[in-house]
């Protein structure tokens, strides 16, 4: 069978898939808003316990990685596989930074007993417990998406290396970039909802 290439079709498929990802997180955002409506003061109190500096740093890190993801597409379209690969490498490095910062944040909290079933958290009022349950679930799911996105970029990197993703047929890289922007976008919503609602 001849190789079927359909640039518009591939883009359309990716956009629809991204829409399903938004809906996946949408369910959680609904849970968040209902719970926030029920416990506004507890959410306010609990939010103060999160480290805004680390959150802000992570936001900067992720936005910058998104920039490099976009630059890698531009690089490839202009004909330079080398630029594309370097930019993907930078994206992946920053993604690792994001996960490392997340790791320190989480381990610090968990160490203090602030996790579902943890000694400190179970003593607190239900609203605060709900805040941290949602915090771990949503940022955890987001973290999983960061890891998945890294896998996608690694795959595209090898495709560029072996020459199946080329300046003429760059849709794989472009779709990976779109996915990465979505992961970034979801974080941009998570950050103010958890760190800045005070």
């Amino acid at each position: 069978m001849t190789e079927h290439r359909d640039y518009l079709g591939a883009k359309m498929g990716m956009w629809i898939f991204l829409f399903t990802e938004i809906l996946l997180f949408g369910g959680l955002f609904v849970l968040y808003s209902v719970t926030l409506g029920r416990y506004p003061t507890e959410f306010h109190e609990a939010s103060k316990l999160l480290d805004v500096t680390m959150g802000t740093t992570n936001t900067m890190v992720l936005i910058t990685s998104s920039l490099f993801a976009a630059l890698s597409v531009v690089g490839l379209r202009k004909g330079s596989r080398k630029v594309a690969k370097t930019c993907i490498f930078l994206t992946l490095t920053l993604a690792c930074c994001f996960l490392v910062i997340k790791y320190f944040e989480w381990s610090h909290k968990i160490h203090a007993g602030i996790y579902p079933g943890g000694g400190t958290l179970t003593q607190w009022e239900p609203g605060k417990q709900a805040f941290f349950s949602l915090y771990y679930t949503m940022t955890g799911l987001h973290g999983l998406h960061v890891i998945l996105g890294m896998g996608v970029f690694l795959w595209v990197w090898t495709r560029i290396a072996v020459g199946t993703c080329t300046p003429e047929h760059f849709v794989a890289l472009e779709n990976a970039g779109l996915y990465w922007h979505l992961v970034d976008l979801i974080w941009i919503y998570l950050f103010p909802l958890y760190y800045l609602i005070t």
Binding site: T20, G27, T35, S133
Partner: protein, 540 residues
């Protein structure tokens, strides 16, 4: 008698290993066939579980299985039938085989993704089955996995819902693939208003799959984190809310009902014009009603929760919205009947199944109004009335749509014809059996028999026994149908390209179609139900 009497088409063995060639195929027709066989196998398992339940309910008290086993059996019956059989049934099997053919396309838009969807389906199904034999025993929550019970039961719920998650992913990718296929791969001249109604139904279904399934995914992920990490998102003691679970669950699972029924309506809309030799009455209203069902069906989820303690305003609003969905459904039924009016009717098996569909679907649909109306729902909520209602809609609707599709496209898939008299007999036995099986449930429900119960009061005995007799008649009909199809797959009389003299594109191909579908790209010049250019010698 021998296979070489029939052109083998896409089913012909190729050069490499037979198994390898089938399991890693990217040919949409082969993937569709794989789905069809898997679904049939799971359907047989689901039917036996259902028969087991009916048998246990023959007498009050314990007949031959214990309470825990009973709970596990009805949960598995539900999980298998809903997630593994009914949801993928028509779209994944017949959609894959026939959508590209009806569009004049070489394949779906993403053939490799299609293979991936099939593998996710297999892995998801296997995971769901694995929950039976591992961990703390088969799940006993019912297919809805309601919290708080699903969060605390020691049975193997986590594995079962992980299977459901994977199956949902498969469903999303199939829907995505179909949307892009319909948008991008239509043959020249195949405008939107010349699309078959089956393709339109799949299009509406695909959007529901894409828009609703992610919500189910997040819901089952939440059950898993609830169980494994003790998050407490649905636990009131820890700031959660179990009603939120029901909302999230039904936001998917109610639209899922339309994932089940819309493709069956598409099949019926394709079959009726062919066997009445008349163009479909009100093509655009059928299209519009499919889209309207997809849209309105997404707004009615909370009618499952009238007695859960929602506000009265919410109950009124959702009751009203539920009535609205009945309108486009009824529009379709009127369109089908108007198509038959003064038509030149040939009562072939596909039409018999389609008529059975209309009757049984109406039986289920009308009682849906009883349940959608908040006042009467208070009385029959969670009784056998509900069980009767959704079995009429799902088995009588989707199941009969599936059977109609099998009998309509069987000659195209295998190049052979089944015994028509036997097929019609099986259809009639099934219609009698289903009414015997499910109509007593309406009466049981009105008298107050709750659903999911292992035991019952003595006054319900005769109706339960009636229902169990019905299950045996149904089983006889299914066995006859299956025997006829399997026998004919090897021994049926060979047929030509167009035994029904239909006018859609798949019937212009040899039966079974070749691997590459169309030798030259077809150019479409008229609608799918214009029979003026169908030649009489096409059939032979």
């Amino acid at each position: 008698m021998t296979t070489d009497a029939v052109n083998a088409g896409f089913m012909a063995p190729g050069g490499k290993s037979w198994l390898r060639e089938w399991l890693f195929t990217v040919d949409h027709k082969r993937i569709g066939m794989l789905y069809l066989w898997c679904i049939t196998a799971f359907f047989v398992v689901g039917v036996f579980l259902g028969l087991l339940l009916r048998l246990e309910l023959f007498w009050p008290g314990r007949d031959f299985i214990g309470q825990q086993t009973y709970n596990a059996v009805f949960t598995l019956h539900g999980v298998i039938m809903i997630f593994i059989v009914v949801i993928p049934s028509i779209p994944a099997a017949f959609g894959n085989i026939f959508l590209p053919l009806q569009l004049g396309a070489e394949d779906v838009a993403f053939p490799k993704l299609n293979m991936f969807s099939f593998w996710l389906y297999v892995i998801g199904g296997a995971t769901a089955l694995a929950s039976l034999f591992s961990g703390g025993g088969a799940p006993d929550t019912g297919w809805t996995f309601y919290v708080p019970f699903s969060a605390v039961t020691t049975t193997n719920v986590s594995v079962a819902v992980a299977g459901v998650f994977i199956l949902g992913f498969s469903s999303i990718l199939t829907g995505l693939n179909f949307i892009v296929t319909i948008h991008r791969l239509r043959a020249p001249g195949l405008t939107w208003t010349r699309l078959t109604l089956f393709a339109w139904a799949l299009y509406a279904t695909a959007w529901i799959q894409v828009l609703a399934t992610p919500i189910l995914s997040i819901t089952v992920i939440l059950i898993i984190v609830e169980r494994l990490l003790g998050m407490g998102i649905f636990d009131p003691a820890r700031g959660g809310d179990p009603i939120l679970y029901q909302h999230l669950f039904w936001i998917y699972s109610h639209p899922a009902v339309y994932i089940m029924i819309l493709p069956a309506m598409g099949v019926v809309s394709d079959i009726i014009p062919v066997f009445c030799r008349k163009s479909i009455f009100g093509y655009k209203t059928i299209v519009g009603s499919s889209l309207a069902i997809a849209f309105a069906g997404s707004l009615v989820w909370a009618h499952h929760m009238f007695v859960s303690g929602m506000s009265d305003t919410a109950v009124m609003v959702f009751s009203f919205l539920t009535f609205i969905v009945a309108v486009p459904s009824a529009v379709k039924v009127f369109n089908w009947l108007s198509t038959m009016y003064k038509g030149s009717i040939r009562l072939e098996p596909p039409l018999v199944f389609a008529l059975g569909f209309i009757f049984l679907f109406a039986m289920g649909g009308i009682t849906g109004l009883v349940l959608g109306s908040a006042g009467t729902d208070m009385h029959v909520h969670d009784t056998y009335f509900v069980v009767g209602h959704f079995h009429y809609v799902i088995f009588g609707g989707t199941g009969f749509g599936m059977f109609a599709a099998i009998h309509y496209w069987f000659p195209k898939m295998y190049g052979r014809m089944y015994n028509r008299r036997m097929a019609t007999t099986a259809a009639l036995i099934l219609i009698v059996g289903l009414n015997g099986l499910y109509f007593p449930m309406y009466l049981l429900g009105l008298e107050g028999m709750p659903r999911r119960y292992y035991d019952y009061l003595p006054q319900f005995t005769s109706l339960h026994q009636l229902s169990t007799y019905g299950s045996w008649i149904t089983f006889a009909g299914l066995a006859l149908m299956l025997y006829n199809l399997i026998h004919s797959r090897y021994r049926g009389a060979p047929v030509g390209r167009n035994p029904w003299k239909a006018a859609t594109l798949e019937w212009t191909l040899p039966s079974p179609p070749p691997t590459h579908n169309f030798d030259t790209e077809p150019v479409v010049t008229h609608g799918p139900y214009d029979f003026s250019e169908v030649r009489d010698d096409d059939g032979a």
